[in-house]
Assembly symmetry: C2
Homo-oligomer: 357 residues x 2
Amino acid sequence: MKKIAVLPGDGIGPEVMKEAIKVLDAAQEKYSFELEYEYADVGGIAIDNHKTALPQATLELCENSDAVLFGSVGGPKWESLPPDQQPERAALLPLRKHFDLFCNLRPAKVFPSLTKSCPLRPDIVGDGFDILCVRELTSGIYFGTPKGREGQGPDEFAFDTMRYKRSEIERIARMAFDAARLRNKKVTSVDKANVLTTMVLWREVVMEVARDYPDVELNHIYVDNATMQLVRYPQQFDVMLCGNMFGDIVSDEAAMLTGSMGLLASASLNADKFGLYEPAGGSAPDIAGKGIANPIAQILSGAMMLRYSLGQDDAADAIDGAVGATLAKGIVTADLTSDRESAVTTVEMGDAIVAEL
Amino acid sequence: MKKIAVLPGDGIGPEVMKEAIKVLDAAQEKYSFELEYEYADVGGIAIDNHKTALPQATLELCENSDAVLFGSVGGPKWESLPPDQQPERAALLPLRKHFDLFCNLRPAKVFPSLTKSCPLRPDIVGDGFDILCVRELTSGIYFGTPKGREGQGPDEFAFDTMRYKRSEIERIARMAFDAARLRNKKVTSVDKANVLTTMVLWREVVMEVARDYPDVELNHIYVDNATMQLVRYPQQFDVMLCGNMFGDIVSDEAAMLTGSMGLLASASLNADKFGLYEPAGGSAPDIAGKGIANPIAQILSGAMMLRYSLGQDDAADAIDGAVGATLAKGIVTADLTSDRESAVTTVEMGDAIVAEL
Ligand SMILES: CC(C)[C@H](C(=O)O)[C@@H](O)C(=O)O
Ligand SMILES: CC(C)[C@H](C(=O)O)[C@@H](O)C(=O)O
């Protein structure tokens, strides 16, 4: 029996989480394993109920669980809070740091039946692309010290520190190369070694790690060029290895290029296989409560959880397959079609995937 | 008589520079002003000839000139140099800092006759888009101190400092709002205020400056979202105001989305209207010397120079118009057509634009 901390959060979070749990329940039955769910508040709803985006009780629940299934947080209600107190930031950054979730996996893949949804020209998208962003998540400029604000008047200044330790770069690089081995054996390391001292070390360490993976091709690309190449010819990428800041930017661009933000899952892992799993998209407050949100990203986040934290690869494969089969049948939610009449609801999509399982 | 430091650099630089000078000569005749050109080495060729990417003599020439017309630098020959000694970096960063070129203007605009070249889907591109990136160019993480490398073994670490002073943010914000006034009266400030202390100050100061421009609409967007929104709906942007690092990334993505990197110029200005003008694209070593490079970005860089540093607005307008008219006639270089037969050469393109002038 494995225990899952379920944190639905705000916006469409609770609706899509319901469908993910439905699918996980079906998978348990079929593959004979048991999950115990315990729910807790996070994000905006936690600010409302407990005056903090990440209550102590929620953190403790996560500590006592084998994995965290996370919905999405934030919305207009909390938008007037200062940017550094926004629910998303105030929930996610401490969770990442507390559990040392240094390895963020963000697949950005075009589903074969959905190439038409890609914002890129059909002759560029072709049969689609399949990129895995491996983003370092607990260091870099997000967490470097010192940072602060000093001085007065026009000379007042603020500062942040970008910082990477050799061991931090090494462990995320290994994750990227390991992942590439199971895919197309190509790692593209994204840096800005022509400007940043941190990135010179980054590149050095990545090259050292590469020596242990002679079967994997390694390329380096500057982050500005990466954002261009993604648009020009996304098929050139397999695994993109990034630091925290550049990974934030590059993975979002890649995700949007697939045209299916509502389908993309992500995993944030530590060295003990504990992980937090969440959709790549946001809380989509504009469609929350309408029953039309796409639950697939949340469902696939559940599948990633089975794979990376719970050792249930067969069940994970089955869910991935059921999602693919459902989409291939032309069953889509409103975000994936211009023909609103034919779109299914959130619940119907969940049911369709369970039926395929 | 104004003096121009002409730094053709490497790769296609010398070829396209020739055409830009040709067009500037024609403009001088027509609008009765006089330019004196003086040439100097920069980048890879300067490393070869003088063992440094930015020789003292080149710097002195720039100091004694009214503006710098810059080609492009770098190429395979110098790629084995450490990333922080690459010609591009080693030439540009010191020039920017030395002349306090804090204001980088990078137009990313789709030319009406060339919407088909955009990598985005035709229904997304529509009639095109017209974005001006205003990038802060002499501060931020590019120039912040301290930076360095310390420690040994797995604990060795490297660090950089992102830093902005209130006055630095204020002056670039004013440039953005001033530019927006002459355009569609909309500024989108790109930051990461939910994570970076520097960007909290950035957002505050931008909001303060906005009070002096009640006629201009101001929005804030996180940089990760900006890279997504550019792909989803680029028309939503008019002026994008960015710090040094984010501006590097966002302006390159926007440029690539126009599908016409070979057409985009840029200006880097200081408070005295002194400026460095260069194409947005690189040295394109793969096509250098073949006479097929597109000279338009260099020609439009010359027009920007006339406008921003030399007060020759009429001549600048005329060059812009001649370029538009030439493209509208379907005269294109190889980068802009799949029908290579019909493409004109670098020299022919220069001649065609002169003929339109
Ligand atoms: C909410 C924010 C702090 C976060 C980040 O920048 O990491 C988000 O954009 C993400 O990518 O998960
Ligand atoms: C060459 C490099 C240092 C430079 C930068 O990052 O500013 C370039 O990418 C640019 O955008 O002009």
